[in-house]
Symmetry: C2
Subunit: 388 residues, 2 copies
């Protein structure tokens, strides 16, 4: 398959690495020649010649009116698929240009919002061109951006949402599915509106709220912030995300995000009212936390399966080189698979608390086995948890 990738940031470069690694022919294009070359040097594909003015066609002051005034950056290539992996705020125009420049190719993108993008593209292209466009959203990313953070396995086992419709030719849909599966992603088909409503709930609103919680710490004295525990750390981890990118994402899905935030604010208002401690307040507060339990229980477990109850065995270890090694060596020697693990941070002391999640049937064996080998396991350390 010949794939042309426009935009060589984290997603574009990662896609190039993944497809090149499987033997597909990948060409790369970016408005930044430096970014384009970096992605190419990393092995993501072959760079195309940068766009240059065509001598004799560029008339000063009229360049904007003459679409033929520059060569197409990808002139001379004939891709099966063009993937637009630019920042979301320019994606629609780049998609439209790609549909014009590559009249044979299927054009897709990786933007995290789909409805507004599709509407904008629809306004820019012909109906025939639109039939060659299939919006996608691979649900992969990192807190870090740029080709330098790219990895060939970025999409592996992640959901790759494809938003096709009844007018999409089956052969073009097959191409896009094939490409997505070549990255190791799990393909999911969703209507654009349903996609946007879903990501508002599972991605955009959690980002907003994490930022709002962290924002309340801006002016708190450091000795007060020092009381922070794992709960705060977890809730605010994604508050470190890039404001520029998230401004584009939130603006692009503004209506759906707003809808969810308004629902959330309604519940927040009820809780704030309840905290005046008038009649019925206890029930209202308990209900808010119980509703959270209910929503939490719907989040699927590891590997995308239904929620699984793992058993957690806690081990206390000195925080020194080799100790984790020995621990996992011993667990491996017991023949028990670790489903998940978490190391708890211990303020002011170099001691690690490791929670090891295993299938419930293995928990007693693991505890007994580790204790026999001299590991420190607190009393009653085995518990069940609804895994998320």
């Amino acid at each position: 398959m010949r794939v042309h990738i426009i935009g060589t940031g984290l997603l574009g470069a990662s896609l190039g690495l993944a497809l090149s690694g499987r033997g597909h022919t990948v060409t790369l294009e970016d408005t930044s020649p430096t970014a384009q070359q970096l992605a190419s040097d990393l092995g993501a594909g072959e760079p195309v010649a940068p766009a240059v003015p065509v001598p004799g066609t560029a008339v000063p002051g009229t360049a904007g009116d003459s679409p033929g005034a520059t060569t197409s950056a990808g002139e001379g290539i004939d891709p099966d698929i063009v993937v637009v992996a630019t920042p979301p705020d320019v994606a629609a125009h780049v998609i439209a240009a790609a549909l014009r420049d590559y009249p044979r190719a299927t054009v897709t993108d990786v933007a995290s919002i789909k409805t507004r993008l599709l509407e904008t593209v629809r306004g820019l292209v012909t109906a025939d061109q639109l039939d060659r466009y299939i919006g996608c959203h691979p649900m992969a990313g990192r807190e870090k951006s740029g080709a330098i953070s790219a990895r060939p396995d970025l999409f592996t086992a992640r959901p790759w949402v494809i938003c096709s419709d009844d007018d999409t030719p089956a052969s073009r849909l097959r191409e896009v599915v094939e490409m997505a599966e070549a990255t190791g992603a799990s393909v999911t088909h969703l209507d654009p509106r349903i996609h946007d409503a879903a990501v508002a709930k599972v991605s955009h609103v959690p980002q907003v709220v994490s930022s709002l919680v962290a924002s309340q710490l801006r002016h708190a004295p450091l000795d007060e912030v020092a009381l922070a525990g794992q709960g705060l750390r977890d809730v605010t981890r994604i508050a470190a995300s890039d404001p520029g990118l998230w401004t584009q994402i939130l603006s692009g899905n503004a209506e759906e995000v707003r809808t969810v935030l308004l629902a959330l604010r309604g519940e927040l208002d009820s809780l704030i009212e309840a905290l005046s401690l008038g009649p019925g307040s206890t029930g209202a507060i308990a209900r808010a936390i119980a509703h959270g339990n209910e929503g939490h229980d719907r989040i699927p477990g590891k590997h995308g399966q239904a929620p699984t109850a793992y058993a957690v065995v806690t081990v206390l270890i000195p925080d020194t080189p080799g100790t984790l090694a020995s621990l996992f060596k011993d667990i491996g020697d017991l023949g028990i698979n670790v489903e998940d693990f978490r190391m708890d941070h211990a303020p002011g002391r170099r001691l690690g608390i490791v929670d090891v999640s295993v299938m419930p049937a293995n928990a007693n064996e693991l505890e007994t086995g580790l204790q026999a080998l001299g590991w420190r396991i607190p009393e009653s350390a085995i518990e069940k948890e609804g895994t998320t």
Copy 2:
């Protein structure tokens, strides 16, 4: 030291385990004889005789008026310190009773809210009795409750906040500090109001907001919730917490929590307004995320030190028994200390993505070393992160 613990749930029983393990004499008391016996069986201390009616003093219909109608549960013991570790909503009355019942003892507690509790206690006891009370809040806990979840190291390296004032006799303060330090906790002195404002920000509001985000998933179809990534999982982990306990905590610190929630709602309202995409909206959205960055950067790193930038090396591993063991064995053999690690969940596939955090100086050595040993490390997998 002779310590009497009233309330043998997670905190009381853990404290008993910690102090007994250091050779202190611990007695245990709980309104539930079963809970009291369980904590004792686990090694948390000696149970006292349960409270029984004293024959001849209990007059039907007047029991409430005769304070001497039952024996004190702890009759015959003479503790240096009494620790009230009951649920927060009954703590004040139990503290007042303890100040009366044990006229020689210093009385302390472990409740997570301090101002309202102190006010209530003040209304129940004499000034002399009040001088023997020193409020505390060990910042330790788990999502699971009860003596069965207790562990002797629950307080190890956690902040233990002590709220004394100028009237507190130095000798009594020393006793409480000594006990707290015997559990391995890091003692911090704070004014009750400052404590309550701080925990509203770093603990209570994050809990509320996590619950509110999870609540929005209650009615979302499961195939939409299946798009959840690590961000949602982190933000909603504590949404699994116990509604009963949190109702008491939030009610007890209602004013401070309400103040922070109102500030948060102000910022939420601005963001909701900005999502109408009127003039200036882009700046307002970017500012909300940037403010989150700013607050996030104030949260101290592991071991309570100032935020440290670790380097993260990512390794891809098959999710089979023994693989983690080999990985950590190899890292240990390289002589490199693991500062933190995280396993990323891979939906629909049994492949683990392990992020290993190490001191930046060790990152290249670790990457080169692991690659030489055949581990799969994606291109450019080393990145710096502000650790939290």
